[in-house]
Subunit: 342 residues, 2 copies
């Protein structure tokens, strides 16, 4: 038995004027394009007060077009219960900038029973928002293509390519960061380093590899071994690989592999960094159990999130004619997990 909320029509009836007049009065028709007498204005205001009128924002949005909604779609769970540190800085940046842009943030959480999909029943669910920021390591390229064809405004966080299309993204400059990281190792004197990682088909991984290779080119006798997944699955396997290849340093493109490398090293009784140097090519998220400050490439995920939103706003407002791609620099932090080789 909750009373329906009063509308402009109710106010109009009570004040004895037309609904249009009510709208004009309430929107404080300042520029005086339509003059309203003070008497009527007062009557309307009083009626609105008496009824406790408040405009229905939904109706307002309908008539004004844009709904000030920025979507966030993730190909993985937005808030992973265990791995809280990963998406968080992105969302933090997204929130800040969305606030700046005077927009609300819409998290697409509907219909996530199976793999997250943008298109459901052939319909673009993102259309709920004026535009969207996309996240996730493994997007569906077909969906990205279709979004582009539809001209739906979106910005991907992370470099993602689709054959024959120009996407809009912001990405950590992994290539530059990795270049610096490997150069650091090489300048310390390392000549044979191991690269822990697979998934070479993903762009970020490619960038990391590319950066490493660029550093290698500058030192003729240096080489890098790409370790196969089996070779860092157990501590003994890794130990064997290190021995076989004569590795003096390990490079990890990934936070969990970095941790794993360190614990394996401890298991094998290798002193880090004296006997083995270890570098992470991404931000080291969890605090180390070894009280060593990690040598790693520090990303600025917060900034990346904010930038994505800024670019998205530009696209939505038509201030960006063609999709743009932006690299955000990242910084090598030299810590205590690297040293000259023995």
């Amino acid at each position: 038995m909750s009373m329906k909320r009063p509308t402009q029509m109710d106010v109009a009836r009570l004040a004895g004027v037309s609904r249009g007049t009510v709208s004009l009065v309430l929107n404080d028709n300042t520029d005086g394009r339509v003059p309203i007498s003070d008497a009527t204005r007062d009557r309307v205001m009083q009626a609105a007060r008496d009824l406790g009128y408040a405009p229905n924002p939904v109706a307002q949005m309908l008539v004004q077009g844009s709904n000030h909604l920025l979507g966030v779609f993730t190909y993985e769970q937005v808030f992973p219960y265990d791995k809280s540190d990963f998406y968080f800085p992105y969302l933090s940046g997204i929130e800040s900038e969305a606030s700046q842009q005077d927009c609300n943030v819409l998290l697409f959480t509907r219909n996530r029973s199976t793999r997250p999909q943008i298109y459901q029943n052939g319909m673009n669910t993102l259309r709920l928002a004026d535009g969207s920021v996309l996240l996730g390591s493994k997007p569906d390229r077909d969906e990205l293509r279709r979004l582009t064809e539809e001209d739906y405004p979106f910005v991907y966080i992370g470099r993602r390519e689709v054959q024959g299309y120009e996407l809009c993204w912001v990405a950590n400059n992994y290539k530059e960061g990795s270049y610096q990281a490997l150069s650091h190792l090489l300048h310390l004197g390392h000549r044979t380093v191991g690269f822990i990682g697979n998934e070479v088909e993903l762009e970020p991984q490619q960038d990391k590899l590319a950066g490493c290779y660029r550093a290698l080119e500058e030192i003729p006798d240096a080489r890098m071994i790409i370790l196969k997944p089996a070779e860092f699955k157990t501590a003994t396997a890794l130990a064997a690989a290190v021995d076989d290849y004569g590795l003096t340093a390990l490079v990890s493109p990934d936070n969990t592999y970095f941790h794993r490398a360190l614990s394996y090293a401890q298991e094998c009784g290798w002193q880090v960094p004296e006997m083995l140097s270890v570098v992470s090519l991404t931000t080291v998220e969890n605090s180390l159990p070894f009280s060593l400050r990690p040598t790693h490439v520090k990303l600025n995920r917060h900034h990346l999130g904010a930038l994505a939103v800024k670019m998205l706003s530009q696209r939505i407002n038509g201030e960006m004619e063609t999709p743009q791609q932006v690299y955000v620099p990242c910084e090598l932090i030299v810590g205590e997990t690297t040293a000259p080789p023995r």
Copy 2:
């Protein structure tokens, strides 16, 4: 020159039917009240796919009064840059359950330049969502009252009271948790404990105090000293207070105070727990720098978030006649920061 998003009218034109037909087809008019031939249905679906049509949720909401949007409003920043652990578990739970309920999550981030406000220019900004989950230690009671009067469906995470109104909330059972925590101390033999904290006007704090007092009642010669803010502002001030009152244990309702107590203790050269026991009445979020497992009350924020969404859905669907309040139990984890007094 961003293309305007397609409407049902566009689909209708492309399919060569009337707009009403499009609506009927897309809403999967199952009960067959209005029969549609398979041929037309296919044409419409195809046209919708081709145009990338998706219904405008704002318009849908206007006409049917619901759009599967659950709002999240926070009186503090949702994603605080530094303090990442706090809201995260809540959001994690909210996301899970919203997904279950087949709803998207809307974060209210607009107009956050000053203090976050639900009512802006006299209108309820939450009305954009079917209902909302509210968070934040210090809500505006007037706003909560007004929301209730408007009969807007919301669930507060954390017990919050408004004189003369029945709110709907889910809360950690701080009272029970604190009772257990203090009982633990008392059973260890402590008789004079200090309570670090202020902000007594807030409900969670009141609950913690109430739980402590209940435990005290069971041990006649035990007493608890409420330390004033000045008394734990510096290590020396705290040291003086501990000496003056003869404290053998400290109780902290707050994570940061817990950490501060531990570092002050270290500064003063007090062994924890041998010379001083310390208990936290909330989840200890950051890993300790002391490698001591903390004795603390463990909250289940993830579950709390999920439960809030579940209750909110019930309210929205009219399955909850009167606002309900639910306590979620929390658990005392006995760690290594407590021991019998010297």
